[in-house]
Every structure is written in C-alpha cells, then in structure tokens.
Amino acid sequence: MISFLMKRLLQASATLAFLIVATFFLLRLAPGGPFDGEKVWPAEVKANIDAKYGLDRPLPVQFLEWCRDLARGDLRDSFHYIGTPVRDIISDALPPSLILGGWALLISVVAGVLLGVLSAWKRGTWLDFSAMFVAVSGITLPTFLIATLLVLLFSSTLGWLPPALWEDRKSMILPVLTLSFRPLAIIARMTRTSLLEVLHADYIRTAHSKGLSEARVLFKHALRNSLIPVVTLLGPITASLITGSYVVETIFQIPGLGTHFVTSVIDRDYPLVMGMTLVFGSVLILCNLVVDLTYGLIDPRIRVEREG
C-alpha cells in the first residue's frame, strides 16, 4: 500500500510539473503580450518594461527564475493588477470558489445517489419517471439557461433570493443550485444504471431469500457495489465543477477563481496564469489521486494491483 501510494504521489507530481512547464511555454508562444494595449509603445519604453519584468531574457531562463521564486513561496506580482501579489489575489478568490464548489459537490453526490437509488428501487413507476426527467434535463440544459430560469423564478417572480453577488448565505443558494444540477443528474443516472445491474446479481437474490429486509439488501448489499462507477465519475465531476464555475461565477458576479483564470489568460497576465494553473492543476491532480485511493476502500479487489 505504501509503495503504491508513493508511486501515485510521484506520478502526480510529475504530471503537475509537466502541466506547469507546458502551460508556461504554450502561453509564451501565443501572440500578444501583457502590456500590449490600445496604444503602441515606443521601442525604448517597451524594452524598459520588458527589462523591468524580466521579459527580455531567454524563455528557459525566465522559466527557471519563476521556479526559483516559487521555491521561495513567491508567486510574484500580477501584471494586470499592478503591485498586487498573485498570492493575495488567489487567497482572496479561493474561498468563494471552494464554498461554491464544495457545496455543489456535496449536494450533487448526496441528492444524485438518493435520486438514483429511488428510481432504481421504484423502477417503472412515476417516481422513476420523474427522477429520470430531472436527470435528463440536468444533463441537457446548458448551465446559463438553468441560471436564467432559476433567477427568473426565485428572484424576479418570487423575490425570495437575490439574483447575484456573493454576500450572505441567501445569495449562495442559486449559484450552488445552478452548479450542482448537471453533476447531480449525471450521478443519478449512473447510480440508477449501475444499481439496476447489481440488483440482478445472484448474491442479491441470495440476500433476499435469506429473508433480509428490502432496505437492508438495497443499502447494505447492493449500493456498495454499485457505487464504484459513481466514484470513478467523481474525478471528472470535480473537474467539471471547477470549469463549470466559470460560467456560474460570471453570471452571478462571484469574485472567485474562475473569472480570474479566464481574464488572466486573455490579459496575458503571466504570473497570475501560472499561479492559477498551479492551483487548478494541484486540485485536479489531487482529486484524481483521492478517487484512485477510494477505489480500494470500496472494493478491496482493486487494492494495489490496479495498474497506474
């Protein structure tokens, strides 16, 4: 187990390192620079700016300098928000994104599994039908349409919840709902499919014939085995919560990481992009690692022997 963990950790760090290098060089290959604006700078001014920010040196040197600063825990100052350290920007923007994503993940897993179990259990009834109606709409409705409809209903018409901004708990409800809808639907469908498959297995019939109660068979015997494909989904779902949050953060005007990430790339704010890549990359890779390790907890058969 320890050696498996070490191997996975090593792989994860290599992945992150590659991601950072690739992003650094791809970003620099892209045309345009951080200080290209409406007006064209005179050559001397441009050279001065480049020298000040170390942009005049060869790319590999710049990369090594960035790594050196990183090792000291310095992510440098943003080019766009002049004088503001990237670390401060990220630490300001991280909490809203984490709260938004965390709640959305929690709600989508709990409600999704519940909905899936319900519809598999009551297969063919109106309960199954309505659960799958929710699931299909969650998968096929674009995020911005969900947001619009929720805002129209709960803010414009009913006046219960604020339409945007990130201030009190009330203002968090609509963004979290919007963000969790799609993963909820995906999890519900997956749970239903996989549970239906498991319910046909011999050992479930055995459990029934031993006289165990229906709820016990369902939750104790069937659900545990049917959750493996669902756990597999959690990696990509967490990733999609991170990417999905761009749209939600934009629509609801939430000062989170998502908006910064997109604008920093458009602004060619190199230090901020690199900082964001570091944060997002670590989160994504960590999620995959956790998912990998969780397999073993749910299904002892795939412990360790899984090939990386």
Binding site: T15, F18, L19, A22, T23, L26, L27, L29, A30, P31, G32, V136, I139, T140, L141, P142, T143, F144, L145, A147, T148, L149, V151, L152, S155, S156, P163, R182, P183, I186, R189, M190, T232, L233, P236, I237, A239, S240, I242, T243, Y246, V247, T250, I251, F261, V262, V265, I266, T277, F280, G281, L284, I285
Partner: protein
C-alpha cells in the same frame, strides 16, 4: 434491421427533432425574416412579439434570425470537431491497440499528456495560439477531445484482435494493415457511431462555453454561446436574450442525448460508452 430503428420511439423522436434543427440551420437564409447582422430592423431590446418571434437584441437585431444562423455555427463546430476527433482518435487508438509494444507506449504517452491537461486550460491556450476564427475553435476543441476517442478505440481493438476472425485473417496471410482497416475497424462501427453521437453535443456545449466566456468565434459569426454572452448582462430585464439561445442549445442536447441512448441500445448493447462519463 430497419425495424429496430423505427420501433424505437427515442430514435424516431430524436431523429425528427435533430433533422428539423439541421434543416432549419441549412435553410437559415430562407427562413430567417431578417439578415442576422442587420442592425435596427426593429426596436431595441423588444420582447418577443408577432413580428419578432424571439424579440430583438440591444442593437435592434432580430433574435430569431440570429438564433437560426447561430445554429449553423454551433452545429458546424460540433460536427466538424467530432469528425476530427473521430478520425485522429480512431487512427491513433487503432494503431496503439493493434500493434502494441513500443507503438502503443509512444502513442499512449501523447494521449496521456493531453488527458491530464485540464480541458478548459488547454482549449483556452490553443485558442490563443490559433486565433479565434473557425480554425482556432476547431483545433482547440478537436485537440482536447480526440484522446477520449483514442482510448475507446484502443480498448476496443485490444479486445477485437484476439477474436477468431482476426486470427483467420492472419492465417490466410492478410497484411496487418489490411486486417486492421478492412476487418477490425468496420466491425467497431457500432460503438464508434455511438461515441460520436455523444461527442457531438459535448463539443457543441464546449463551444458555447468558450463563446460564453468570450473566447469563441469573433463577430460577425454568432453561435448560441455568443448570443448568450451578449445577453447575460441584461438577464433580469431582458431574459429573452438568454432564454432563446439556451432553449435552442437545450433542444439540440436533448435530441443528441436520446439519439445516443437509442443508438447505444440498438448498435452496441454491451457498451459502457456514454455522455455520462464525460461531463
């Protein structure tokens, strides 16, 4: 064979829905009451009314015409990028799976590199590199999605190459290339078509997402995502600007969802392929 298609309500329904949508996109210039980019054909920001079925936008352009022409862009991007990832993914996946060994390791190393990149970051970086024209969008979506196809085809070919008909092909002295392209790949058409029907809507959604955050096609083109981007600032007062492009996108997704589901049951009953693994 024909009966299996026609007796599946989901297939018939989604085929009619998607067929209508595609036809409307193709005939957009004939159906649309106004040119999609003509400013001031009506009052600014008018709500839907008989003359302007979906209302007008901030410049007084007819939203119905814009959504119709947006269908062209959105559908074209979806089909072309899915075709691109189908060809590239199938070719690389088939070679990796069939020849194994060093070929496999080299191809899969490249695939893994693309796989670990957060999709959005890669798409954004590529769209910066290749510009925001049709080609740039095509490359940035195609390059991020072909790896899924490559992994699928590799797994399928790995299974297929152990089957008796492949061995029979070898026994009668067919070249490996011929076995792969004339015998194995045609046998995998079912799962590949199914994965394509899930890939297309995913790509359409990705394009709308890129356009929504402002990295999509630049004017004069307008996809549904661009339209939603133009609309979201006035969401509270002028919700029609968001709702109609969103609705068009929703109908397309719905059609492909049921088409994929029914095709999976018809063509590839055992498969695990689905839109659900690729949120």
């Amino acid at each position: 064979m024909r009966n299996r298609y026609l007796s599946d309500k989901r297939f018939v329904g989604s085929a009619i829905l998607l067929g209508t949508l595609c036809l409307m996109a193709l005939l957009a210039s004939m159906i649309a009451p106004f040119p999609y980019d003509e400013v001031g054909v009506g009052p600014n920001l008018a709500a839907p009314a008989p003359g302007f079925l979906m209302g007008t936008d901030v410049l007084g352009r007819d939203l119905f015409s814009r959504v119709l022409f947006g269908a062209r862009v959105s559908l074209a991007v979806g089909f072309c990028t899915a075709g691109f990832s189908l060809i590239l993914g199938t070719l690389t996946g088939a070679l990796a799976g069939f020849f194994g060994g060093r070929t496999d390791r080299m191809i899969m190393a490249v695939v893994d590199i693309f796989y670990i990149f957060p999709m959005l970051l890669l798409a954004i970086l590529l769209s910066l590199l290749f510009g925001r024209g049709f080609f740039g969008i095509f490359i940035s979506i195609g390059m991020t999605t072909w790896v899924t196809q490559a992994r699928l085809v590799r797994a399928l070919v790995l299974q297929a190459r152990e089957l008796p008909y492949v061995e029979a092909g070898r026994a009668i002295g067919l070249t490996p290339v011929r076995i792969l392209f004339q015998h194995i790949l045609p046998n995998l058409m079912g799962p590949m078509i199914v994965s394509l029907t899930f890939q297309i809507p995913n790509n359409i959604l990705t394009e709308s997402f890129l356009s929504f955050i402002g990295l999509g096609l630049q004017p004069p083109y307008a996809s549904w995502g661009t339209l939603a981007n133009e609309g979201f600032r006035g969401m509270l007062s002028y919700p029609h600007l968001m709702i109609f492009p969103g609705l068009a996108l929703f109908l397309t997704m719905l059609g492909f969802h049921f088409l994929g589901d029914s095709l999976r049951d018809i063509l590839d009953p055992k498969s695990q392929v689905g839109s659900h693994t690729n949120p």
